[in-house]
């Protein structure tokens, strides 16, 4: 295309399953990738988004046009590597400016073989998805034949009914941190690192288990509380995990779930989860805490949600709702000590308004712990 602005101006195409094809310039790794095309409206935090395991298998389209401005930094990783299947942007910054950065987004994408496309009308595509619903897509800089690409996009499996967590969860249990505080066992379905950092900052000892670890193995570690992490895919395709949550409830330990973990907890109680038309992906969603009446601006990243009508009031109360569409954002359980939220209180990227939820969970844990254990200072 225009050599003057791009060091290596390779043409690239993005094809949607409905036949829409747009041309742009290849960024990052040269190659081909496919997945569900989704968008995120956060204006900062592209690196955190690209490394968020919940996005595993999805092509991320950033609505903010300039992406790559401040390069990449190790501390902005939410996992050890990028998790998205591809990146779509309007105006990629090949050159970045940030004295504290470790390198450019372009080099980083190449290192991790992440395929991307720049120079496309992202706004039109967002409006397209908004009206037509999310759909699969393919990005390619090696095959530029429109029909081929559309066909490839059509052949990709639908996210509906797809189990993806096992692709991103840890293979072996590991200790994330030790501290004087309670012992938190994390069921990893693709846990964001910042969730673990939240527990760390609150003096917890954290061990991360592969999501499908049998409960007795986890209990053998003698945890004080159990955490069900975020992760990609359709929770309804994870019967094993749902069963695990049921067993966890029977232990009587306080439970906390975020995003996918929240959905699994709802399913364990017989509530219904449905796939949303577009989903919520951004860092500006208003959530009202119905217990306090306060509103928090939250980070959201989910394509499935808990059906409000299916929440059995004997089992749980809806504690948080989204102010934009009134969908369920949080549950407080009645039959056991536990809470769960659909959004991301650990943020990263996004506002820090909801971090109190970690404190609330740890309060439940503290209340549950035997009196012999020393009480801990809050962070």
């Amino acid at each position: 295309m225009i050599p003057l602005l791009h060091p290596t101006p390779d043409p690239c195409k993005l094809a949607l399953a409905d036949g829409t094809v747009v041309t742009g310039i290849a960024i990052g790794h040269r190659g081909e990738t496919g997945g569900e095309l989704c968008f995120n409206t956060s204006m900062t935090g592209y690196q955190e988004i690209l490394t968020d395991p919940s996005y595993y298998g999805q092509i991320m389209m950033m609505t903010y046009p300039h992406i790559g401005n401040y390069g990449v930094m190790d501390i902005d990783m939410e996992a050890a590597r990028p998790m998205v299947a591809g990146l779509v942007v309007r105006a990629f910054s090949h050159r970045y400016s940030n004295r504290l950065a470790d390198g450019s987004l372009e080099d980083w994408m190449r290192r991790y073989e992440l395929v991307g496309i720049s120079g496309v009308d992202t706004r039109r595509l967002v409006r397209h998805i908004r009206t037509k619903g999310v759909m699969n897509a393919v990005i390619s800089s090696i095959d530029l034949d429109d029909e081929h690409l559309v066909e490839k996009a059509r052949r990709l499996p639908s996210m509906n009914g797809l189990e993806l967590a096992s692709y991103v969860m840890t293979e072996q249990p590991y200790d994330f941190c030790t501290g004087p505080g309670p012992r938190i066992a994390v069921f990893d379905y693709g846990c964001k690192l910042n969730i673990l950092r939240m527990f760390q900052a609150r003096d917890c000892t954290v061990r991360v288990f592969p999501g499908y670890t049998p409960l007795n193995e986890v209990m053998a570690w003698e945890p004080d509380g159990l955490f069900f992490s975020n992760g990609p895919g359709d929770p309804r395709a994870m019967p094993q995990a749902i069963e695990q949550v049921r067993a966890a409830i029977r232990t009587g330990l306080p439970l906390f779930g975020i995003c996918l973990g929240h959905q699994l907890m709802a399913l364990a109680l017989g509530f219904k989860v449905y796939k949303m038309y577009v989903g919520h992906r951004g860092a500006n969603h208003p959530v009202k805490n119905l217990r306090t009446g306060r509103v928090e601006v939250t980070t959201q990243n989910h394509g499935f949600a808990v059906e409000a009508e299916s929440v059995d009031p004997r089992e749980a109360e809806v504690s948080h709702i989204n102010l934009n569409d009134q969908t369920v954002e949080g549950l407080r359980f009645k039959s056991f000590a536990g809470l769960s939220v659909q959004y991301h209180p650990e943020a990263s990227p996004g506002p820090h308004d909801s971090r109190y939820l970690f404190d609330e969970f740890l309060e439940l844990v503290a209340a549950h712990r035997p009196a012999t254990t020393p009480q801990l200072a809050r962070v």
Partner: protein, 946 residues
């Protein structure tokens, strides 16, 4: 919490006359607040002395007090009106200070008036440097480090502690910070500290870490009574710390912060707002970030609507003032809908998928001897905002909006020399973005420019990319423009004028446009929707770019396009925005679909719920034509209104006419007749109306010849300028030579007009309307100052105070004759000078004038509305029969000019034919014994110079 029912009547305080640093953004916030409160069923009492505002219209408030903003007048109004609450956050620092002062006197309490929207404590803390510092320290917010020294030795120790030069020296307790400032060298340090220790009555100096060159940011916050806080917008200053944010090029959203940095700033801002009180309302918080370490410090916090909140509103589409007003009466954010989407909540943080660039507008040419260097003292008189999908596009569009002759960021004229660029770039001047572009043209590197300017390299990369495209354009001919490349060029914001200039061969703007359209490259219009297209939006607020989908749907209605006045500047300010807003409302009332085009973020006309459709676009020919062509695809374009947007809009009349686009009201040939001096003189001769002897010249020699023929003193001015730019009075041949040479240097190829100056004449301004047949005189104003002082700088009295009935009849007759002869349909303003009972006509402007809002306020007659409806075919008879033309004025109304001299201490206070005032106030007096008349009358000759 729903709205409060215990308060019913609310006093809203305006910001008074426009001065540098406090401009028409407060008309925007005030009128938005007033409308929102009235809609909620509250009775709104408004006080402001500025007649050229929408907020002081009967349409905005229940009762308007056009009175001066002093504690006495507020007391009088409150005693009469007995409001339940006062909202002082919409009228800038003026309103806040008044509220604080009356609080200290215990007035509000005594009257049972509650202050809403802010806490008194918050005003005090944020205005007191030391208290603010202490508070920030207490809540753990970092600030510039500093320590007090009692000796040079101690000062040197502190210097070492702070990490070396540069530092800021602030002698303690000296008046106005005398002896302070930033020091860059050891010699300077020794000298300033020693001198500071001497100057300070307590012999102490504060040595403060310099934040010069740090990155500068602003956040706009809203909070409700439930303590929910949201950030509406982040703004990054292109110009780092050291230049007042009002003088900085700014960009929204922030471009170079990682999420962790941004969230840290967000947390700090929220903490700061919570630390200054519990009020429900808005706040602006400023931060500086050290680029190497990322260290962030708080600079200041303003608990009120501000210039930046107006910008943030326009940049995101989020109506901050309206929501802030509703929060002040008890609503919480979660109870309010987002007006833009109509379906989602107002309690969220807007996400945008475009870039906004603001460039201030300065008027240095008006002030001889002014120091043009940009510093921490604001000097700009207005600003433009541009929206583009990317930063380069927005930057170029902002330059197209400035209306200073540029068609973008350079690339439309010969480049300056290396020496000029080097000299110009050394210090921050108004054209810094352009000089950076020039430096890239000359081969400078990003590093070199960054070292001089401290501007973040990311912005410099973007400008370098613009220059790379320029170079590619220069290599090509028109025929070599392929669709892909031309689309990219347009996406980088280049205008057809720039492209034509840069291409090889002799290419015109029209050639480029034709080629572009042949290649199918036309702009698309995208919606400003607060949510980056996540949700459908309803507000008809658009910007142009070069994307692949058009979101501005064209209706089948009959449409009227109103051209706005662009950036505020001396001679063309808020008055024209007032006219545009009334034009829109008047056309709406007649059932037309109204379409507004303007680029000034401080205005009411760019509020998305004023016109049926708002295009936030440069009032620049190419962009205007694009919109017209787009809107012309369906339905019928009734026409374009050029009479309301000052000279900016009027200037486009010729091109509209040439392109066969209907102009509403007075025809273009007639406008041209009034503008073109020789034709107009012929017309006056034909009507047997006297005018001062005049001549025209294109060279110094010609000018001297004309002057010798006409005689002295003689008035010299360039043609087609605004607010008397470059106008001088010469008393001899030498002065003629000097002035004309200066004008030709500034405006080469301009025709120079020379008029005999009618010394000690009485100047008269007439505003009138005409429906093509009948003429109605809306107001005749007599100036207190003698002719020679620009009419905008004069104190005008309505009705005249010392003219005989015979003279007045002559004035009326001349106005009628001229209006009829020009077949005026709409508005006209005629300027005359009366000397020895002879009435001379100086000029006629077939458009809304600067004084029209004053006349409307003085007489209570909706002049702008009447003028607009005449343009749309109504007749004066209809208004007369409805009794709408009757003046309600009792006594006299006085228009008092207001200056911003304090911003230019190096400029002597002189009045002449070049306008210098930035704003105006209105005063109503019963008799001429009133101080408002006597004071200016007594000193009427004092400041007249040339």
């Amino acid at each position: 919490m729903p709205k409060r029912t215990d308060i019913k009547r609310i006093l809203l305080i305006g910001s008074g006359p426009i001065v540098i640093g406090q401009a028409c953004e407060f008309d925007y916030s005030g009128s938005q607040a007033a409308r929102a409160l009235r809609k909620e069923g509250y009775e709104v009492i408004l006080v402001n002395s500025n007649p050229a505002t929408i907020m002081t219209d009967p349409i905005t408030a229940d009762r308007v007090y056009l009175q001066e903003l002093t504690p006495e007048s507020i007391r009088r109004i409150v005693e009469k009106e007995r409001p339940d609450a006062v909202l002082p956050t919409m009228g800038g620092q003026t309103a806040l200070n008044l509220a604080a002062q009356l609080h200290e006197e215990g007035f509000w309490e005594a009257m049972g008036v509650e202050i809403i929207g802010v806490d008194i404590e918050a005003i005090q803390v944020t205005e007191d440097r030391q208290r603010f510092r202490d508070l920030m320290e207490q809540i753990g917010i970092d600030q510039a480090r500093s320590r007090t020294a009692r000796s040079l030795l101690e000062a040197k120790e502190i210097l070492q502690e702070l990490g070396g030069l540069p530092v800021v020296i602030r002698p303690s307790f000296t008046l106005g910070g005398t002896g302070g400032g930033i020091v860059w060298t050891m010699e300077e340090f020794d000298r300033k500290v020693t001198r500071g220790l001497e100057l300070s009555p307590v012999h102490q100096v504060l040595i403060e870490e310099s934040v010069y060159g740090w990155k500068e940011y602003e956040l706009e916050l809203l909070r409700d009574a439930n303590d929910n806080v949201i950030i509406i917008c982040s703004i990054e200053n292109f110009d780092p710390m050291g230049i007042h944010t009002g003088d900085s090029v700014t960009v929204a959203p922030a471009q170079t912060l990682t999420d962790k940095q941004y969230q840290r700033m967000r947390d700090a801002a929220i903490k700061m707002m919570r630390s200054i009180g519990k009020f429900a309302g808005g706040c602006n918080v400023q931060f500086a970030v050290e680029p190497h370490t990322g260290r962030m410090i708080a600079v200041e916090i303003n608990p009120r609507m501000s210039r930046s909140s107006a910008l943030a509103s326009k940049a995101t589409g989020y109506p901050i003032a309206k929501v802030a007003a509703r929060l002040a009466v008890g609503y919480t954010l979660d109870e309010l809908p987002n007006d833009v989407t109509g379906t989602t909540s107002a309690c969220f943080e807007p996400s945008i998928d475009y870039v906004v660039v603001k460039i201030p507008r300065w008027n240095f040419e008006k002030f001889e001897g002014v120091d043009e260097e940009l510093t921490t003292q604001m000097k700009a008189v207005g600003e433009v905002m541009a929206i583009g999908r990317t930063f380069p596009e927005a930057l170029q569009k902002a330059w197209q909006s400035l209306e200073n002759g540029y068609a973008g960021l350079g690339g439309d004229r010969e480049d300056p020399t290396r020496e000029e660029v080097r000299a110009r770039l050394k210090k921050p001047y108004w054209d810094r973005t352009l000089q950076i572009r020039n430096a890239f043209r000359l081969g400078a590197s990003v590093e070199e420019i960054h070292d001089i300017t401290y501007i973040d390299p990311w912005f410099l990369y973007q400008i370098e990319d613009i220059v790379k495209i320029e170079r590619e354009l220069e290599r090509r001919t028109l025929d070599q423009l392929d669709a892909d490349f031309l689309r990219l060029v347009k996406q980088y914001g280049f205008s057809d004028v720039q492209i034509a200039y840069l291409l090889q061969g002799n290419v015109s703007e029209e050639d480029v446009r034709a080629r572009r359209k042949a290649l199918g490259i036309t702009p698309t219009f995208q919606l400003v929707d607060t949510c980056a297209a996540e949700f459908p939006a309803q507000t008809p607020y658009y910007y142009s770019t070069y994307e692949t989908e058009n979101e501005s749907e064209v209706t089948d209605h009959e449409k009227v396009i109103i051209l706005g006045a662009g950036p505020n500047r001396i001679g063309q300010g808020i008055e024209f925005d007032y006219c545009c807003v009334h034009g829109v409302l008047a056309a709406k009332e007649m059932g037309y679909e109204t379409i507004m085009i303007n680029c000034n973020p401080e205005t009411v006309s760019t509020d998305f719920d004023v016109a049926d459709k708002l295009y936030f676009e440069p009032v620049f020919w190419e962009r205007v034509l694009d919109i017209i062509e787009h809107e012309n695809r369906h339905g019928k374009l009734k026409g374009v209104i050029v009479q309301l947007g000052g000279q900016t809009a009027l200037k486009l009349a010729r091109k509209l006419h040439e392109h066969g686009i209907p102009i509403l009201g007075t025809s273009f040939p007639m406008m041209d007749l009034a503008e073109e001096r020789s034709k107009f003189s012929a017309l006056l001769r034909e009507l047997e109306i006297p005018y001062p002897p005049y001549g025209a010249a294109r060279t110094v020699v010609e000018a001297v010849e004309v002057a010798e023929r006409i005689g002295y003193p003689i008035l010299i001015r360039p043609s087609y300028v605004l607010g008397g730019q470059g106008m001088r009075i010469a008393i001899n041949k030498e002065e003629v030579e000097r002035y004309v040479r200066n004008i030709l240097k500034l405006l080469p190829d301009n025709e120079i007009l020379l008029d005999l100056f009618l010394e000690n004449g009485i100047e008269v301004d007439v505003d009138a309307a005409c429906d093509g047949e009948e003429v109605w005189i809306a107001g005749i104003m007599q100036h207190i100052e003698p002719a020679g002082v620009h009419s905008g700088d004069s104190t005008a009295v309505l009705p005249p105070f010392s003219l005989s009935e015979e003279v007045l009849n002559t004035i009326r007759r001349y106005t009628e004759d001229i209006a009829r002869r020009l077949q005026v349909v709409g508005l006209i303003n005629v300027q005359m000078v009366v000397k020895d009972n002879v009435v001379y006509v100086i000029e006629a402007n077939p458009r809304a004038s600067r004084t029209m809002p004053f006349v409307a306020k003085a007489t209570g007659v909706p002049v702008a509305k009447i003028g607009t409806q005449l343009m749309l075919g109504r007749k004066l008879r209809e208004f007369r029969e409805a009794g709408l033309l009757e003046s309600k004025l009792r006594g006299y109304a006085i228009k008092e000019p207001v200056f911003s001299w304090d911003k230019f201490p190096e400029v002597p206070k002189e009045l002449g034919p070049e306008m210098k005032s930035t704003g105006e106030a209105i005063a109503f007096v019963e008799t001429l014994t009133d101080e408002h008349f006597r004071r200016p009358y007594a000193i009427r000759n004092l400041y007249l110079s040339r």
